[in-house]
Symmetry: C2
Subunit: 240 residues, 2 copies
């Protein structure tokens, strides 16, 4: 191993206690018996740069705790364009969302450098989740969903134009279903702009433009959507 500053640490399994003592890692406040428990349950490994740790859609098999190196968490946006959601560094967790939320991964994780990770198999954590009080469990689930949704919004923000984001928003307002939908915009133009990350004038023009294209009808704070599928098309400029 050569010039890589991140790798001149001995390649031996780090104990959770030692990480925690340095104030590193997610388990700092944990009592020492939990930490030794972790040490018993975990395994340790290294991955080369480029290695995929997990992919969106796959079932979570455990939680990684990054010890050295850098991992990128990505999602694929509309045009197939990669969007990096987060860069995970030493001390960061990977895959805990899927395990806590009891659902498949919603993003990919790929090592950007050679990495060292500790690995906690799901069968250490899942029991904790499933034996938690149902109320707590549902709160956590909800939290995971929301996090996923915020990340989705981040991708939108990066990859869609204001008008497309507006169209997406209107569609969400209409809810699922078919036929003409009429909804009240519960926000002022200013607020709508704040929500969509644009200037109010931009939003007004986008609304006007959608109306001119007959994708919506405007009536003050009310919006009519005659054909949701057409509006859906306006959601993605890169569409075929």
């Amino acid at each position: 191993m050569n010039s890589k500053a991140t790798l001149n640490r001995p390649k031996q399994v780090p104990s959770c206690a030692s990480c925690a003592k340095q104030g590193r890692g997610p388990f700092c406040g944990l009592p020492s018996d939990s930490l030794t428990g972790l040490d018993r349950a975990k395994s340790f490994g290294t991955y080369p740069r480029g290695q995929i740790l997990f992919q969106a859609g796959s079932k979570a098999t455990g939680v990684h705790c990054l010890n050295a190196g850098l991992v990128k968490l990505t999602r694929v946006g509309l045009g197939g364009k990669e969007q990096i959601l987060r860069l995970a560094g030493p001390g960061d967790l990977l895959g805990h969302r899927a395990v806590l939320g009891e659902r498949p991964h919603d993003h990919d994780a790929e090592a950007m450098t050679d990495v060292e990770v500790c690995y906690l198999p799901a069968d250490v954590i899942s029991p904790l989740v499933s034996s938690a009080p149902p109320l707590l469990r549902s709160l956590v689930k909800k939290l995971v969903e929301e996090t996923s949704e915020v990340e989705g919004r981040l991708v939108e923000r990066a990859q869609q134009r204001a008008e497309e984001r507006l169209a997406s928003f209107l569609l969400r307002l209409c809810g699922p279903g078919d036929g003409t939908a009429r909804v009240e915009l519960p926000l002022s133009r200013q607020e709508l702009a704040d929500y969509l990350g644009a200037a109010p004038e931009t939003i007004i023009r986008a609304l006007a433009h959608l109306a001119k294209r007959k994708l919506i009808r405007l009536d003050g704070r009310f919006v009519e959507v005659p054909d949701r599928s057409k509006l859906t098309d306006a959601t993605d400029s890169s569409a075929a």
Copy 2:
């Protein structure tokens, strides 16, 4: 059904069981004894449009479950500009992040319409959190932190230009501290662009511009920051 579907419901306390039976709300999958427990513990109230439910920085006193109406969750960005993080509608939870993460609220919540909410005081939920296995608890805490951070990124995306976002990112890379910092960019320009939500060319030019202003020195994949406080200024165009 006329235009206001949301308000022709009687203003009486809805039971959690009835919400769950409709497939509404976060507590759908819960066993019925949990639901009746919730009903006993919760209170119910209405707030007028404009009412503040809680504010960033304040301690969480409980969790709201929105029954009718719309609430906006906002954060204040750099220039004092309001950014709407999320619009909460019927069935959404408010304030659970602070309770689960055992930390103060990191955003404001304001009713955009008259709203009806159920309220679960913290002393119903906090014990669940604090008596959870420490490992679970720390995972949840980590999750809450990350969510908060993603939302922060959303605000950045809306309110900072590419060069400012880049400056923020470089500062985070350097970590805290003083004096000249030299860091390796662990990403390709393309990846950096994906992360920051911009085109690679934009990022390259922003790097070049920061270098011309002597705020950074460029050397391939290495970046030197002679004076972090100056770079911090470049983070916010609206600064005095």
